[in-house]
């Protein structure tokens, strides 16, 4: 096959060229929207991921935020002034998020919405803290976003409108105990991620407080594909409910194997389950009687949500996802803060945001706690014949 050295080199060069062609395909140049700052308006910075790894998060959050700004301006603005959005792309990179924030600070923004991921928010945090301008994170769920790990102190200018990850464990425990009325449960979670471990702890705590009994705690690690031995053991324990905090890659085959073994009890999990792959791997039938917690559902029948979904669909011709709803809420909570502070001043806005109680958002009523985390409702999504359907809203 590789007769001579020359031919070998020729093949190598050919391969390199082929890779070059493949790699060159399918990239689009990102476009930035940069409207000129208007005099007499309140500048709001949007530091979001419009390109890079999590471009879809940022794009949807921007669309939600822009809808909110449009609605606020149409209703006469805030404090008699119009909101002027300045949208910048942080390219899904923490260091880029930082330089974008620095540029936004120069534009005299009153607050920054975004970035979306916890890592990118961390990149932007020092600039916002230094300049005393509030950052409202729509979807950063890591605990240390609003609280300094080392000192345990709340970061004065960092806020968020999503609940922190482990809180979903509390919501699911409440749902299992109150709605499904189960008394016993087994936790079978991913032990290789902090996300899942935190969820398991919160679930255990709340479920026990509600008078439920944890029959056993089992674990798997990332990339496991064989769960049958542990599932056979769990079947022997006979729990009424199984809590599976983890990501869909492992959870989907886990549920399929559980059903194959004749385990029919309800199974619950966190938003790590939220992927179309769940249905393709585990199959619709196996997923019946499984539930997961999430921030928001576009099927919510709450009139506020229905109105938001309508308006979003009319403007963008697509279904709003959780990021769009959280982007929308980020702007609305900022508007509430500005009204409470009665001044378009970043420091006063931060003070007002920290005091917000019972703010009515699309993703639930929020009260900001001392750690700048919202205490708010979550939704329970149920798989019904392969379709995600909203089961209920759980208020803590």
């Amino acid at each position: 096959m590789f007769g001579t050295k020359k031919r070998r080199i020729a093949i190598l060069i050919m391969m390199v060229f082929m890779f070059g062609i493949i790699a060159g395909c399918g990239r689009e140049a990102p476009t930035n929207q940069q409207p000129a700052p208007t005099a007499g308006a309140i500048n709001v910075g949007l530091n979001v991921e419009l390109s890079g790894g999590v471009a879809s998060y940022g794009t949807n959050a921007r669309d939600g935020a822009m809808l909110a700004i449009e609605q606020v301006n149409a209703a006469g603005g805030v404090l008699g002034q119009q909101l002027n959005p300045i949208v910048r792309d942080c390219k899904s990179l923490p260091d880029e998020a930082m330089s974008v924030s620095a540029a936004l600070v120069d534009e005299n923004i009153v607050a920054q919405i975004g970035p979306l991921t916890s890592g990118n928010v961390a990149g932007s945090t020092p600039i916002m803290m230094e300049n005393k301008i509030p950052l409202i994170a729509p979807a950063a769920t890591a605990t240390n976003v609003t609280v300094d790990d080392k000192t345990g102190a709340t970061r004065d200018y960092i806020f968020r409108v999503c609940f922190i990850d482990p809180f979903q464990g509390t919501l699911m425990a409440q749902f299992a105990a109150d709605n499904l009325k189960v008394k016993t449960a087994v936790i079978y979670g991913d032990t290789s991620s902090d996300y899942a471990k935190g969820l398991a702890d919160y679930f255990k705590q709340t479920f026990t407080e509600k008078g439920g009994k944890i029959l056993g705690t089992e674990g798997f690690v990332k990339d496991d594909r064989d769960f049958r031995a542990t599932l056979t053991k769990i079947k022997g324990l006979g729990p009424e409910f199984i809590y599976v905090p983890g990501y869909y890659q492992e959870v989907a085959p886990l549920i399929a194997q559980a059903r194959e073994q004749g385990i029919t009890v309800p199974i619950g999990g966190p938003d790590g389950w939220d992927s179309p792959d769940m249905v393709t791997v585990a199959k619709a039938e196996a997923l019946n009687n499984t539930y997961f917690t999430n921030h928001y559902s576009s099927q919510d029948t709450d009139p506020k949500v229905v109105a938001f979904v309508e308006a979003f669909k009319t403007k963008y011709n697509k279904e709003p996802d959780g990021f769009a709803a959280l982007g929308y809420d980020s702007v609305q909570i900022m508007v509430q803060g500005l009204n409470d502070a009665q001044a378009a001043d970043p420091v006063k806005l931060a003070g007002a945001l920290a005091q917000i109680k019972n703010f009515e958002g699309i993703t639930g009523n929020m009260t900001i706690d001392t750690n700048h985390n919202p205490v708010k409702a979550g939704v329970i999504i149920e798989f019904k014949d392969g379709k995600q359907t909203m089961n209920s809203r759980i208020q803590p």
Binding site: I22, D226, A229, V281
Partner: protein, 293 residues
């Protein structure tokens, strides 16, 4: 009791997959004393070839497995020619490092070409049915994996014991230079060994796809390591040892998760590796010849 039998069923189908991969490790080691760390990734390539032959060519599972085996046999031969043959007379550590390099190359080339996301093995190729036998749930895919694995092992035993190629392989394994003197083409025999070992890994890859429903470019790493443990446990270089080792590891993991703690499962498998290297480095089936380490 019923739970125990269920666990044994679970363990046997897992063990069958480990055993198939372990065979490739042990055959290659037996013949050129190289631990082919790329072997688990050949399994991954086999799974992807099976996947594409089902989705693109619309073949059934048996044909998909044959195509995967053929492609991986060729891949094994190419890997040996390009990466290992030039180093055959250099130090063992050089070949070992090359093997790790080939492993990374296969993993990241696949990620580069197909993306890092998992692919869903089409369920049209294999319809899963569950049989309820005396309270045990036995799936037709359990039977499929077990029967085809044992079938392939029997074919392998036949090839090695009763064919000329098999005889040549045993001769090269025993004494490379004497084999040359007897007129055996060593290069050809080593190529054949890689082809057979890689084909078995490809079969295991397709089985993993059928069994667990999803495949991804890094799926070969952990089963590859477990199969390596199985091969060492049985005595590396010894073919029946690899089979037994595979089943033992499969059953052991199942029993640890079922009756001990699922968190200790991997610790126990790799603990076995350490233990066997300390107590009986030649493995369960190894004879103390003094020259093997």
């Amino acid at each position: 009791m019923q739970e125990l039998i269920q666990q044994l069923v679970n363990g046997l189908s897992l063990g069958a997959i480990y055993a198939l991969i372990a065979l490739g490790y042990t055959m290659v080691y037996g013949i050129i004393k190289l631990i082919n760390f790329a072997h688990g990734d050949v399994m991954m390539v086999g799974a992807f070839v099976g996947f594409f032959s089902i989705t693109l060519l619309g073949t059934n599972i048996a044909v998909a497995m044959l195509i995967a085996m053929a492609v991986c046999a060729l891949l094994g031969v190419i890997i040996e020619k390009v990466a290992y043959r030039p180093l055959r007379n250099s130090t063992r550590i050089a070949s070992l490092i090359t093997a790790i390099g080939v492993s990374l190359l296969l993993e990241y080339l696949t990620i580069f070409l197909l993306g890092p996301n998992q692919k869903i093995f089409p369920d049209t190729a294999f319809t899963v049915k569950a049989y309820d036998i005396a309270g045990l749930s036995i799936l037709n895919k359990d039977v499929f994996v077990f029967v085809s694995a044992v079938g392939l092992m029997l074919v392998l035993q036949y090839i090695i014991k009763y064919t000329k190629t098999g005889k040549a392989m045993r001769a090269v394994s025993l004494d490379n230079e004497a084999a040359i003197l007897m007129g055996i083409s060593v290069d050809k025999t080593i190529s054949t060994t890689f082809a057979i070992g890689s084909a078995l890994a490809a079969a295991a890859g397709v089985m993993v796809g059928v069994y667990y429903g999803a495949i991804n470019p890094l799926m070969g790493i952990i089963p590859g390591l477990k199969a390596f443990v199985a091969a060492v446990l049985g005595g590396i270089g010894i073919i029946p040892g690899a089979m037994v080792g595979g089943f033992v590891i499969g059953l052991l993991e199942t029993l640890v998760s079922g009756y001990g703690n699922s968190l200790y499962r991997d610790a126990v498998s790799f603990g076995v590796l350490i233990l066997i290297l300390l107590v009986k480095p030649t493995g369960l089936f190894g004879k103390d010849t003094g020259e093997k380490v």
